[in-house]
């Protein structure tokens, strides 16, 4: 098992190093997330005041949309110079490749979230400091769930036609449980009368979804990427 984790770490480090050289995904994803906030700000502000639960909704829309962008780009990179084939030929287990890609994606997404969450907190007067650890856990587990399914499908679609369209088409219905739990949990935290018990329940559900999705994706990645 330690061999798998080590290989996964090497693959993630490779991805992050490529990213650190030009920071393309980080910059574009971050700016795209900000654009989402801008567009939704106009949709959910009535007479200068944000609608109830708007902040939670906008937060998760920004996370999922920018996450999709990062996924598409990360695997487009592997496709351009056929490096995915090289990766699949490498003498490591398929699970290690999946975990490595997932780890790199999560690092990127969490980096973007570290900027976007405070920005949303300021712009929509969301009480971030009310339960920072609970909020951080909700966002982190939601991101893991999204990334687990997203990495599997983005990797699968690398060779498919019209992959740019098919990725969101497939991904959004599948991660709907994660997004629902994330939005409801965050909304329970941000509400005028916060419901910490409800937020805790949604967090438990997110942990459960993560466990199911990561296990399933690990099992599917091998047979799907067989070539």
């Amino acid at each position: 098992m330690s061999g798998v984790l080590r290989a996964a770490w090497l693959i993630a480090r490779k991805d992050l190093r490529v990213e650190a050289r030009n920071r393309e995904i980080a910059y574009t994803t971050l700016f795209f997330a900000m654009s989402c906030v801008l567009i939704f700000a106009f949709a959910f502000i009535v007479e200068g005041q944000p609608l109830a639960d708007a902040a939670a909704g906008i937060l998760w829309v920004a996370v999922t949309f920018s996450g999709t962008l990062a996924l598409g780009r990360a695997f487009e990179r592997e496709r351009q110079s056929e490096t995915l084939r090289a990766l699949l030929l490498a003498p490591v287990e398929r699970a290690a490749i999946y975990l490595g890609k997932l780890l790199a994606l999560l690092t990127l997404m969490i980096g973007v979230e570290l900027v976007i969450v405070p920005v949303i907190g300021i712009l929509f007067a969301a009480p971030l400091a009310r339960a920072p650890w609970l909020l951080a856990s909700l966002v982190a587990t939601g991101t893991v769930g999204f990334g687990a399914v997203g990495t599997l499908f983005a990797a699968m679609l690398v060779r498919a036609q019209s992959r740019d369209v098919l990725l969101p088409v497939l991904l959004y219905p599948m991660v709907a449980p994660v997004v629902i739990a994330g939005v409801r949990g965050t909304a329970a935290l941000f509400a005028a009368e916060p419901d910490f018990a409800a937020a805790g329940t949604w967090l438990t559900m997110l942990v459960f979804f993560d466990a199911v999705f990561v296990t399933l994706a690990l099992w599917l990645f091998g047979p799907v990427m067989r070539e």
């Binding site: 019209s162 088409v169 219905p173 047979p223």
Partner: protein
């Protein structure tokens, strides 16, 4: 195998011809009255959708592990039927909800939302197969398995999330004169489903052999 299809279709047709008379004769539900009778088609359609999702998921898993072409053909057929019967559920549900709840649709209900999500997954499955190009059957198989995994969430979500949808206990506590009609409708749907599944699987096999023949000719 496909020789039984015409028989199944005839049986289904006869059963569906009798169903309206049985539904008409069934007693009126005290609070909802006539509109409750849509239940006799809504519930069987929902059960058939879930059945089809499971058939698709299991066939997809067999295809992924064993690479049996036949399993893939069954999976496509089941996915299409899941979308078809799911559409029936999604259309009949709001017709009832408008009368019973006063709204066509509510986003606050777990059962409704999750059924819709699952239906979307299988529409996405079909889109992937249609536009994914060569090799998309393997990808679709993974999507089919994920769709199946969502089903328990759909089923049990009722107990964990605020819901206005009648719970699954309703079926067990039905008076016998109602439950016999419901069972008749469920069996009618099952017979129709079996016929359509066999027919569509056969069609898919023919399509695949035709594709192969065409490729062989080109080479």
């Amino acid at each position: 195998m496909t020789r039984v299809v015409p028989f199944l279709l005839v049986i289904a047709a006869l059963m569906f011809m009798r169903a309206p008379f049985m539904i008409d004769a069934a007693p009126y539900e005290s609070t909802m009255g006539l509109v409750q009778k849509i239940f006799y088609f809504h519930v069987p359609a929902a059960i058939t959708t879930f059945l089809s999702v499971f058939v698709c998921g299991i066939a997809s898993a067999i295809f992924l592990v064993r690479r049996k072409r036949m399993a893939d053909h069954v999976a496509v057929a089941a996915a299409e039927l899941a979308v078809l019967f799911g559409l029936m559920v999604i259309v009949t549900g709001p017709l009832w909800a408008r009368k019973a709840w006063g709204v066509w649709w509510t986003w606050g209900d777990a059962r409704l939302v999750m059924t819709f999500v699952m239906w979307m997954v299988f529409v996405a499955y079909l889109l992937l197969r249609k536009f994914g190009g060569p090799g998309s059957e393997v990808l679709a198989a993974a999507a089919g398995i994920f769709g199946m995994v969502l089903v328990p969430f759909v089923y049990w979500s009722v107990n964990y999330w605020r819901t206005v949808h009648p719970s699954t206990d309703v079926i067990r506590t039905l008076p016998p004169e109602m439950s016999s009609v419901l069972s008749w409708c469920i069996y009618s749907f099952f017979v129709l489903y079996a016929a359509l599944l066999l027919l569509r699987t056969q069609l898919e096999s023919h399509r695949a052999s035709l594709d192969e023949a065409f490729l062989a000719l080109e080479d």
